[in-house]
């Protein structure tokens, strides 16, 4: 993509052509009281040289550390061609090009992405992606509220086993639309929702969110939960890890009727951890809900000569046709990340993805077997899990984690930070990137640290 600078003369010429005396005038439409004058929390601009130095120093802090933290973002091997192809000039853009139909290659890629995600989730339709997993859950909540014709009440049930960051984002996005979020607690002895203890007098709700695996890596009883919600005319929104779908049954098969909407974060599909982003969200649904889906869908069609081609279908509807009646303010997609993910999935194939999922599960299982039983450490839950588990420490976890970091190991995520009832509980993940030597190293260092403390 070319770098296009504007000289003052360029700017002046453009302003003259459109008949405006300065750039500020372009914003006259916005009432002055709505404009933010000072962005106090944003630091002063620095030079390119200085920012490059700063970011290099920060990046270096992560180097050489073995990462065993999951908690919503997962380290996976990304084949070299993925980003080599994704960063080619033809693809390298954060956006779908304006005049999208002129970029048939980009549209075809998005079409393939939608097909892959629909296959993985078992849903009929997928959109062309959203910002991240958290915003995908929020959009799914809004979509469920709009679509549920049997339950008019604007209330959803959100288990506390959903990623805390997702819950916070959903609250921030939907609360101002008058939507009530009621939490559904989990059984601390199993790390999942206790389906036998589901409330019987919970009242009407439009949707139940079901995380699979949940934030603790544990598998929820999705069949039971799905049927329970459907019996009460609520919709079911599955929040899933796409890698896990290579092993677990698809949300289409949950319970008698399957989930209605399936969303999640696509980061495990070829996106590096990069200190938290950019990632991308995905959102899939059953066919009857397609009109309530936010974002974009790329469709396959034929041109006047009968030749196949691709077009952006939903974007025109939302941005140019429905406008203020649009289903969401999101009319975009996370183009570059989806490009990488689509290439990643096409290189791995379903079999490759299944092997990634299976070896991640096997590594976590092997790690758990080694650390469960170390003096002062025990497995917290006995529920089946995917590639993340919780272990309980008998001494202050923060000290253990600090000491492990000093030894070059990010040992996991301290659940006590967000779950007071899980003080000194560690969430740990070993993906396929970890070798037997890495696992042995983790265990040896953990034993040493516990002896020293």
């Amino acid at each position: 993509m070319p770098y296009i600078p504007h000289t003052q003369r360029d700017v002046d010429e453009m302003l003259e052509v459109i008949g405006v005396s300065n750039i500020e005038e372009l914003f006259d439409e916005i009432p002055s009281e709505l404009r933010v004058k000072n962005l106090d929390l944003i630091p002063e601009a620095v030079t390119e040289m200085a920012i490059f130095r700063l970011m290099s120093e920060r990046a270096a802090l992560d180097e050489g550390l073995a990462c065993f933290i999951g908690a919503g973002a997962y380290e996976h091997h990304i084949p070299a061609p993925v980003w080599d192809i994704a960063t080619r000039g033809e693809f390298y853009s954060a956006y779908t090009p304006y005049q999208a139909e002129a970029s048939q290659g980009t549209l075809q890629l998005l079409y393939e992405f939608q097909t892959m995600m629909a296959n993985l989730t078992g849903m009929d339709v997928s959109n062309a992606s959203l910002y991240d997993g958290a915003s995908a859950v929020a959009e799914s909540v809004l979509m469920a509220i709009r679509s549920n014709r049997k339950v008019k009440i604007k209330r959803i049930l959100m288990p506390t086993t959903v990623n805390p960051a997702y819950r916070e984002t959903v609250r921030a996005i939907v609360t101002n639309q008058g939507i009530v979020i009621d939490e559904l607690s989990f059984d601390p002895s199993v790390g999942a929702i206790d389906v036998d203890g589901l409330p019987t007098d919970i009242g009407e709700f439009a949707a139940l969110i079901i995380p699979q695996p949940n934030f603790f890596g544990q598998l929820e009883d999705v069949d039971h939960l799905t049927d329970w919600a459907h019996k009460q005319n609520a919709m079911v929104v599955g929040v899933v890890n796409p890698t896990s779908l290579a092993l677990l049954k698809s949300p289409r098969e949950w319970g008698e009727q399957g989930a209605d909407i399936v969303c999640g974060d696509g980061q495990p599909l070829g996106i590096p951890l990069s200190s938290g982003g950019p990632y991308f969200g995905f959102l899939c649904a059953k066919q009857p809900l397609v009109r309530q889906m936010p974002g974009r869908i790329v469709g396959k069609t034929v041109d006047l000569d009968g030749k196949p081609g691709f077009s952006l279908t939903l974007q025109a509807r939302e941005q140019h046709i429905r406008r203020s009646k649009a289903t969401s303010n999101i009319c975009t997609n996370q183009g570059l990340m989806v490009t990488a993910a689509t290439i990643h999935m096409s290189l791995l194939g379903f079999e490759g993805l299944e092997r990634v999922a299976a070896s991640s599960h096997a590594n976590t299982r092997a790690l758990l077997a080694e650390i469960d039983g170390v003096d002062g450490v025990e497995s917290a839950f006995s529920t089946p899990y995917f590639h993340e588990v919780v272990v309980k420490f008998s001494q202050p976890l923060a000290d253990v984690l600090d000491a492990m970091t000093e030894r070059g190991i990010l040992a996991g995520y301290d659940l006590g930070q967000v779950y007071p009832q899980l003080e000194n509980h560690l969430l740990v993940c070993a993906t396929e990137t970890k070798t037997n030597a890495d696992l042995a190293d983790y265990v040896a260092n953990l034993k040493a640290v516990l002896r020293e403390l």
Binding site: R149, R291, I321, R322, R323
Partner: protein, 131 residues
Amino acid sequence: MSNVPAELKYTESHEWAEVLSDGSVRVGITAHAQELLGDMVFVELPDLGRVLKAKEECVVVESVKAASDVYSPVSGEVVAVNEALADAPELINADPYGDGWIMTIKPSNESDMSGLLSAEDYAELAGSEDH
């Protein structure tokens, strides 16, 4: 000038209303409205049993050009919706006063009908918009 059947009543927002033999009121959009909107692609129908006030937004008709609200000509309860529009929204283009009807309302206020426009008045209104 497009077709404006003399036996129907009309609104300034381009809906038509027809009193059926059981006293309920069938509602659709006029030939003039569908011409302005162009090819219909989707109709968002109201839920059965919904109670509407006159002039309340209750339906969205979406064409290749725009999405427009449809307003209820009368107060009352929605007792029927044209389910055929879900799969064939183009019925509104092909037959706006017949197969392209949108919903039927059981009116709660008989006098609402008398406040609507006659075919003659509506034809004049629609004609003035053409210029």
